[in-house]
């Protein structure tokens, strides 16, 4: 559905650039707005729209991105650097054995519906996730033995075994706090404690927030925020250029020049945990042979790929630079087509034919690159673009594929490599033990070391190829201050943004 549009978009991009040049002449530069307007409306263009607002039961970055921190809050949250900081909890303490977490709640926090936040709301919210498998993050809270409220301001979470990821899980949908017994229909409306209230959701178009005047913390810098969903990248650029957006994110790298310095827009380049993973089905021949997997990795010139994409950084192992346990693993899979051919010969796979199943909305740049890289070592790669739901069914659920390429956006998702049932079908008991040990480790640095060790094994096993970590380009318009830069895919806290108008 989207590939012809994209191809045309490229064509149009060139023409737009040409026309923009001619249009510039005779236009006086717009006066720089200076006065910060506390009641301004911030208009943000986004690409991926949530399909429902039910954040408790629907997974997906698009939903977390806009709702967490803006509308809903948890005991803790995370910064753009993925550091964990208190939110609804003013402070927290972890017992020395790592089994007891004690949170103290802020005073005077109220829900948008008027209810006051008490410890029993937190207990009720967390217990729902612990008890009901249909809630997002249920599995991550499997080790929670009890959630209790000794008094109105204190919440105690007791674990059956230490879990280094507990706080991180609490920064996501599983940790959000809802009003006990509230009957708001979460699919279409919201009742949180955040700096914004949900004003409206026009499905297929936009989501609008209003400033929560009764917010317990620092009030939001703008009166209204409208998130406009524009799935087509070129249409997003047009919207920014015709003045109907203040911010556009992400901007596709090869189109970014159209907004760089044009009409007051400036580009911000932010880090992400978006890992473009070239998955190998480790369970099927010939990919169950590590030599074949290594050969495929050596055939890929990762620096060249990043150059083709136009943004991003190389990533040679399963952990991206923003997550704990990252280390530079570039020596594991250097670009070496010569060696790749040797490895294939050793493995007796000189006339290899492989199929790459890829969701169609990713465009063709990466798969074209791979076809030619693999062709160079004598591997004939056919690309099968499929709809995302088909991908979920065939590849993700049924594991029926050879190679697949998907962007895994979630931070700290190393666990997939320790789960033999995950669609990678990578089964290495050593990695599973190291990961379990890293989770159970009380000391954060020691845990990160264990993760790094496990990640190195996964990389050296060539369980997959990590094509690159994406960079998120954001075009920020004139007068917008404080728009966040990093990790925007999973978290877009706009409470600190201000907008100056003239």
């Amino acid at each position: 559905m989207s590939f012809p549009i994209r191809r045309v978009a490229l064509l149009a991009a060139g023409l737009t650039a040409a026309l923009a040049l001619t249009a510039c002449t005779g236009q006086a530069p717009a006066p720089e707005p200076t006065e910060v307007d506390p009641d301004a409306t911030l208009r943000v263009g986004l690409v991926l729209e949530p399909t429902t607002l039910d954040i408790r039961r629907t997974s997906g970055a698009a939903l977390e991105q806009v709702l967490v921190d803006n509308v809903y809050e948890g005991l803790v949250t995370r910064t753009q650097d993925n550091e964990i900081v208190p939110a609804l909890a003013s402070e927290y303490e972890i017992s020395a054995d790592g089994l007891t977490y004690t949170f103290t709640l802020h005073e005077g926090v109220t829900f948008h519906g008027g209810g006051e936040l008490t410890a029993s709301d937190v207990v009720w919210s967390l217990n729902a996730v612990v008890e009901d498998a249909a809630y997002v993050g249920h599995d991550d809270l499997a080790g929670v033995a009890s959630v209790e409220a000794p008094d109105d301001r204190t919440v105690v979470i007791t674990l059956s075994e230490p879990n280094q990821n507990l706080l991180f899980t609490l920064t996501g949908p599983a940790g959000l706090v809802f009003d006990e017994g509230d009957e708001t229909d979460l699919k279409t409306s919201a009742n949180g404690t955040g700096p914004f209230t949900l004003e409206s959701w026009a499905q297929g178009d936009s989501i609008t927030f209003q400033r929560n005047e009764g917010y317990w913390g620092e009030p939001a810098g703008v009166g209204t925020v409208t998130f406009r969903y524009i799935p087509d990248f070129q249409a997003g650029i047009s919207a920014a250029l015709d003045g109907s957006l203040d911010v556009l994110t992400p901007v596709q790298a090869d189109l970014a020049s159209q907004l760089d310095g044009v009409n007051g827009f400036e580009l911000q380049r932010g880090r992400t945990t978006d890992k473009y993973v070239l998955a190998f089905n480790n369970a099927v021949a010939p990919l169950d042979d590590p030599r074949v997997r290594e050969a495929l990795r050596l055939a890929i010139d990762h620096d060249g790929l990043v150059e083709v994409i136009g943004a991003g950084e190389t990533q040679y192992g399963p952990i991206p630079s923003l997550d704990p346990g990252y280390e530079d693993l570039s020596e594991v899979a250097p670009f070496d087509p010569e060696r790749a051919r040797e490895l294939l010969a050793e493995a007796g796979q000189e006339n290899l034919q492989l199929q790459l199943t890829v969701p169609s909305f990713y465009g063709t740049a990466v798969s074209t690159f791979l076809v030619s890289a693999f062709n160079d070592i004598g591997v004939d790669l056919t690309v099968e673009p499929v709809e995302f739901s088909t991908w979920l069914n065939d590849v993700y659920t049924n594991g029926d594929y050879e190679l697949s390429m998907v962007n895994h956006v979630e931070p700290r998702d190393f666990g997939a490599w320790a789960n033999p049932d995950y669609y990678f079908h990578y089964d290495n008991p050593e990695v599973q033990e190291l990961y379990a040990a890293a989770l159970a480790e009380v000391d954060a640095d020691a845990s990160a070391d264990l993760l790094a060790e496990a990640a190195r094994i996964v990389a050296e096993d060539h369980a997959a190829d990590w094509l690159y970590t994406a960079e998120q380009i954001t075009a920020v318009g004139a007068g917008v201050e404080g728009f966040p830069t990093d990790s925007l895919n999973s978290r877009l806290d706009v409470s600190g943004v201000t907008l100056a108008t003239d």
Binding site: A12, A235, G243
Partner: protein, 317 residues
């Protein structure tokens, strides 16, 4: 006439019944389901199974189909699996974009096709007549997506006269000018391309009319060729246009699906594309049934009109 109308009405009903069954069954053949989409890439198989059960996806197909059809007759198209909102209400909401878009596109198509089509026929063999034909041939071959992009580049981005995309959803048609403005470029895009195709029909119909005996007779009686054509020939041209226009409706519906993507319009077309992707089948089947019904009803009306206008068809009865 009444007998004819009743026969056609019966055909329409049969057509809709068959279409509903085809729509329902084809959608069930797709791999993947909405439960999987809800659970996403972090969902466990147990989670997916549970969601599937909650949504009632496991019930027998015949039960699901009958429930749907019974609902259709009471104006209830079911509830969206994803958003939990009634499909009928969503359709009504999105129709406020798509229906005016279709009507506007149709008007543009007529404005392009009729005058230029007649002109190119009358001026056949001369430079201007040939030019119109050639240009129309070229424009008709332009993909709607590309035409849309070009219009955006010129009228929205460079000149800044019209918005590049979007629809004022919060105010809707209570701010008619804003709503209309946002539909002008998309309607122009579909209308010009569809109009160029229609133009060729108008041209050949006009050429045929010029050659008809009654036009030649009129001309022989002292009218100029153009006068004769305008007074006596055009009614028969009109008849052909009505027929072709009926066929063009399907083209305009398809055009709307594409153009709503390009211009980011929250209409039925864009909703359909995203719902198919999300496997929200309850909604997709409602949308498809509505679009099918729309095209079938237009065909029905065209047939009736045709029958009413054309004396030859009446005599044949």
């Amino acid at each position: 006439m009444i007998r004819y109308a009743l026969t056609r009405l019966l055909l329409l009903a049969v057509g809709l019944a068959v279409a509903s069954a085809i729509i329902f069954l084809t959608l069930r053949v797709f791999p993947g389901d909405v439960a999987q989409m809800i659970a996403g890439t972090n969902g466990t198989p147990e989670q997916v199974a549970r969601i599937r059960e909650e949504l009632g996806l496991g019930r027998p197909l015949l039960t699901q189909y009958l429930e749907w059809i019974v609902g259709v007759f009471t104006g209830d198209l079911g509830t969206s699996f994803l958003t939990g909102t009634p499909v009928t209400a969503e359709l009504a909401d999105k129709a406020q974009v798509t229906v005016p878009l279709g009507i506007l596109a149709m008007l543009v198509a007529l404005l392009v096709a009729v005058p230029f089509g007649v002109l190119s026929a009358v001026r056949r063999g001369r430079a201007d007549g040939t030019a119109i034909s050639v240009i129309a041939q070229g424009v008709a071959a332009v993909p709607v997506v590309w035409a849309g992009m070009m219009l955006v580049v010129v009228f929205a981005v460079s000149l800044g006269w019209l918005p590049a995309q979007g629809f004022p959803t919060s105010t809707g048609w209570s701010t008619p000018w804003l709503a209309l403005r946002s539909l002008l470029l998309p309607a122009l895009t579909i209308g010009v391309v569809e109009g160029a195709m229609l133009l060729r029909f108008v041209r050949s119909a006009t050429l045929q009319a010029i050659g008809e005996d009654f036009v030649r007779t009129a001309a022989a009686k002292g009218l100029t060729r153009t006068q004769a054509l305008l007074r006596h020939g055009l009614p028969s041209v009109g008849l052909s246009i009505v027929t072709v226009l009926g066929l063009q409706v399907a083209g305009i519906v398809v055009g709307a699906v594409v153009i709503e993507q390009v211009f980011n319009l929250p209409g039925i077309g864009r909703m359909l594309v995203s719902d198919v992707g999300a496997r929200d089948l309850e909604k997709v089947q409602g949308e498809l049934l509505l679009l099918t019904a729309f095209v079938l009803v237009i065909g029905f009306v065209v047939d009736l009109l045709h029958h009413a206008i054309d004396p030859r068809q009446r005599e044949a009865e």
